[in-house]
């Protein structure tokens, strides 16, 4: 038995705003959320990259009481806030009758790096007595799912994926399968991340992964453009409420889209470089289509991983072409990372949400900054401006360090 799964709630905290409506509005307006880093003096610290997508206007206490908020690293605060938004939109009431059938799966790629950095400094200066008793619970990745369960009462499966930049997509895909196989009726699922700190930016810089277009922050994330030079870090969270179709129908919920497929694969190739020809990502998309029981021709839109790295953008393009054949040219493929930056473990969460909103609203988000398309990247990337299109089926791709790939497929719900 496999059950149908739908999306009934979306929660977003992104560099384009705190909240789903403001994020979506800025996204389809083609606005960039990338700015000079304000959290620390990246220039003074000698960082090669001094820009990032920080979340504007986030007030944790709007979602979390002050005492609890103090015990959470910011990545947990973002994840909890997005979860509460998604739950509120879904209208799902968790009480004794259903608590054990509602689960949580909000992962992160890095975890509480900001708190780790701060605590190490306190320890170096003052010794072991300066380590907070909340240090471990503040920083471990599954604590977002823990807090969401404590705050919502969800007593079903409680897990947290950690697959680098594929985290959010794996979390949502795994939650989809948990519901499909009957192990829960609803899941609060997605990804969260907040590691725009010295070690985070310094670490990705050292790996030569980040753009150094520091003098033009809003133009730095430019997937598929000839002059792209790496990704730009973002932060935030994207969480969905997934629910069995029966459960959503029984309570008369508004259904935003149906999740119909999920695929995974491993590159077995390199720590940080994509496999040649994007074959790992290609197999992943194919697996998701097989799970959905659809053909390549059925797909209208791909929300690409599209991070704006020289190698990754070409590999994904090649992977898409190898799997979709002639249909590749008819697909719309866009990278919302051109506007949000790369939210790492949260990327799959926000991008699954964007895919849901794209099929629900009939609008495809653009790829901004695509001024001179790389000849090796020759698909329809929806440059510069969002496109009205009555799309039915969308794939959201995420690929992570370690050669881990995930694709989720959503379909317009009629």
């Amino acid at each position: 038995m496999t059950r149908r799964v739908v999306v009934t709630g979306v929660g977003l905290v992104t560099p384009l705003g705190t909240g789903t409506d403001i994020t979506w509005k800025n996204l389809i307006a083609g606005k960039s959320g990338i700015r000079r880093i304000s959290y620390f003096d990246a220039v003074d610290k000698g960082m090669a990259c001094t820009i990032a997508g920080e979340v504007p206007d986030f007030d944790a206490e709007q979602y979390i009481n002050r005492k609890d908020a103090r015990k959470m690293d910011q990545f947990i605060q973002f994840g909890v806030a997005a979860s509460m938004m998604a739950l509120e939109q879904s209208g799902l009431v968790i009480d004794e009758s259903n608590a054990e059938r509602v689960g949580v799966a909000v992962g992160a790629g890095i975890g509480g790096l900001v708190t780790i950095e701060k605590t190490m400094r306190a320890y170096d200066a003052g010794g072991a007595r300066k380590i907070s008793p909340f240090f471990i619970p503040q920083t471990i990745i599954n604590m977002t799912s823990g807090w969401v369960s404590m705050m919502s009462g969800a007593k079903g499966p409680n897990v947290a994926t950690v697959t680098a930049c594929a985290t959010g997509t794996h979390a949502i895909g795994d939650a989809f399968e948990i519901i499909a196989r009957g192990a829960a009726d609803a899941m609060i699922a997605g990804g969260t991340e907040a590691c725009i700190c010295e070690l985070g930016v310094g670490g990705f810089s050292a790996a030569r992964a980040l753009s150094t277009r520091n003098d033009e922050p809003e133009r730095a994330s430019r997937p598929w453009d000839k002059d792209r030079d790496g990704f730009v870090m973002g932060e935030g969270a994207g969480v969905l409420v997934l629910e069995s179709l029966e459960s959503a129908k029984a309570r008369g919920a508004v259904i935003l889209a149906e999740v119909i497929g999920y695929g995974m694969s491993g590159d077995a190739y390199h720590m940080t470089s994509p496999s040649p020809g994007g074959e790992g990502g290609g197999r992943c998309m194919k697996a998701a289509m097989n799970r959905a029981g659809i053909n390549p021709e059925d797909v209208d839109y791909i929300n690409a991983h599209g991070t704006s790295t020289p190698a990754g953008d070409v590999a994904e393009t090649q992977g898409i072409k190898s799997v979709f054949g002639d249909h590749a040219k008819k697909l719309m493929v866009s990278s919302s990372k051109s506007m949000t930056g790369h939210l790492l473990g949260a990327a799959g969460g926000i991008e699954a949400a964007f895919s849901v909103l794209a099929v629900h609203n009939g609008v495809v988000p653009p790829t901004i900054n695509l001024d001179n398309q790389d000849p090796e990247c020759d698909l329809d990337y929806v440059p510069h401006e969002a496109r009205q299109a009555n799309i039915k089926v969308a794939i959201s791709n995420s690929f992570g360090f370690g050669g881990t790939n995930a694709s989720v497929i959503v379909r317009k719900f009629d």
Partner: protein
Amino acid sequence: MSAEIEAKIIKIVGDQLNVDEGEINPDSSFVDDLGADSLDTVELVMAFEEEFGVEIPDEDAEGIQSVQNAIDYIAAKAE
């Protein structure tokens, strides 16, 4: 001196446990009256150490369960 210590302690407790300072008395127990859990009490002691520039060994910290305990302990250390 003691009044000053009391005011500072009540402020720290109010901040950390998110309790209105008006609701905090010297008799208030951190756990029973102010909603603290075991980790909160550890962190409170760290905050007292920071504020008053003292070191509170774990065996002493176990005895600090209320606002009054904290006031007495800090006052004794200050002498």
